[in-house]
Symmetry: C2
Subunit: 339 residues, 2 copies
């Protein structure tokens, strides 16, 4: 195979506050030659995950990833098909899910997150970046392991119509919990209740904001708060914990634009008097247990008890806009780019 | 028995910021007659616990206690001997530990926290408000249940020479952990290492503050942070969590004077990338398991592996000053008033 031309989207500049399309730029470069132990995938889908916004900031190094480099392709989870291989585990034709970047062709050596997919055609391929992929794994293990839901628990979900939130709310309902979603418009509130089966929904932009919504819909507080947002919403939520409440720290969209200093949790004391806990996690820690989640989620999907909501954008050029739209809450469910 | 005169210390005014002795006043009133189901204790010791500072603020109602009333006796854990009884479970002569107030005589009906003590003389009586009382129970269950120490873990303790901290540091060392204490002077740092067996100590008031001390003594971060302080120190600490770290939320002295809005945790994101957790607790939730803790702590005390550090003040009149001194870090170990 000749070395193909590779369209890539680079991080052109560090975002200042709100992320903009102009922070990115598209280039075309030849893909590089494979070395022994490497394989080349033609990417079919980009999984847009809000968490990656964080690593666009300078100095955002942590145990999970290092800050993205300026002028380098933007990191992302991608789904691709191997087109050339010098790696015995990933022969040509394999479908893979891996951490790479916004580009048409990615080289993998298996040292970073890379998973071979068994796609038997039961579900559309994009499901493997959605409910049967990182999003579903995040929702499932966060809710089950950190949230530990019991029948009858009250479960509050922020960004409730987002990629992870839309799955969390549905799983919690299937498990017999009372589910309340937080979102950003009346329109989305109706959709959460009518389409996703939430028992109630709170528009945090309504007069009175989140506090009024919580007083109305969960006057006794929550057992589980699945937090996709962080920031002031988290601080407000922890003031409404029941005894023994569990806070699942999954995402912190509110903090991503702000380099940490703008918003904090001022009510840590509540964790003491409510004997409550908060814990963070990463879906990639649960690789060994994926089959458990995939089995449960596949069954619920097949039975029609769980719906995957996707917002699929077409073409690599649409990626920056799609990512910005997602962060601004303009997309519903899982935002995916199809190449 | 005639109704005795009862000295009581009342909350005279809501503290504004730092608590002062003048926020309290001493009065003498007759103790009231007992009704059926009540008993009267002559108090021998007051346990001074920083957490009660919180409930001196207006509106500090929560699941644990309601805000103390102005003009009412100041709430406290007390140790007393029953002098009159119309309650079958608490005959005259019983030693009891209960939640009551700063007063010479307390009436109990058993509906609130009240525990009969088996005092066989093996340990001095004040030990039952210290290591074998609420303080020791707090240290033991917080460390064991929330911290879950493993041999070789690095354990960071704030207010490390305080009532709870001084016990936590010693238990962690007995369990084979590396222990680092945070305190407020060079003098106390030496004492933590030389007398309490901490592996190292950090004076957070030294130039460079806590951050410099953490870089020097635990460059790889901690597995467990036993937090007695809250506020900015908690926010700094969570920036130094190891993967899978546990934060034990035990106290929040830093927040007590400030009605919540002055200091926050701005680095909640760290809990996600470090897959870390934080949880609060109250010693009183573990009443069923006290024997487990008492057995372990008694053994370590008897073997001389664990020392109880006490600062005993004499006379009910000394209580306000003792409590203020404790909050300002002027006392070492457990601060107790002997009546």
């Amino acid at each position: 195979m000749n070395t193909p031309q590779n369209k890539q989207i680079l991080l052109r500049q560090r975002p200042e506050g709100t992320l903009r399309e102009s922070d990115f730029t598209l280039v075309t470069r030849p893909a590089r030659e494979l070395r022994d132990g490497e394989c080349l995938a033609r990417n079919l889908y980009f999984s847009l995950d809000a968490g990656f916004r964080k690593w666009m900031n300078a100095g955002a190094d942590d145990n999970y990833l290092t800050a993205m480099e300026l002028g380098a392709p933007v990191q992302s989870i991608v789904l691709g098909r191997i087109e050339a291989s010098r790696h015995p585990d990933y022969p040509v034709g394999s479908l893979v899910l891996g951490r790479s970047s916004w580009e048409e062709f990615s080289v993998f050596d298996g040292s970073d997150f890379l998973q071979k997919l068994d796609h038997d055609g039961s579900f559309p391929l994009h499901e493997y970046v959605a409910t049967l992929g990182p999003t579903g794994m995040t929702a499932y293990f966060g809710l089950m392991d950190i949230g530990r839901p019991r029948t009858g628990d009250t479960v509050l979900v922020s960004a409730a119509g987002g990629a992870v939130g839309s799955v969390v709310g549905q799983i919690a309902r299937i498990l017999g919990c009372r589910t309340i979603g937080i979102t950003s418009s009346e329109d989305k509130c109706r959709w959460l209740v009518e389409e996703l089966g939430y028992d109630a929904a709170i528009n945090h932009r309504a007069p009175g904001g989140l506090a009024a919504g919580i007083r109305e819909h969960l006057p006794d507080g929550f057992d589980i708060y699945f937090d996709n947002v962080g920031g002031p919403m988290l601080d407000q939520a922890v003031q409404h914990m029941k005894l023994g409440a569990r806070v699942v720290l999954c995402g912190a969209i509110a903090d991503y634009d702000q380099n940490d200093r703008e918003s904090g949790v001022f009510h840590m004391w509540q964790f003491i008097v409510k004997r409550a806990s908060a814990a963070g996690f990463m879906f990639s820690d649960y690789v060994e247990r994926y089959p458990e989640a995939v089995q449960a989620l596949s069954k619920w999907l097949a039975e029609g008890r769980l719906k995957t909501v996707v917002d699929i954008r077409e073409g690599i050029e649409q990626t920056p806009k799609a990512f910005c739209d997602m962060l601004e809450g303009k997309s519903r469910g899982k935002c995916i780019v199809r190449l």
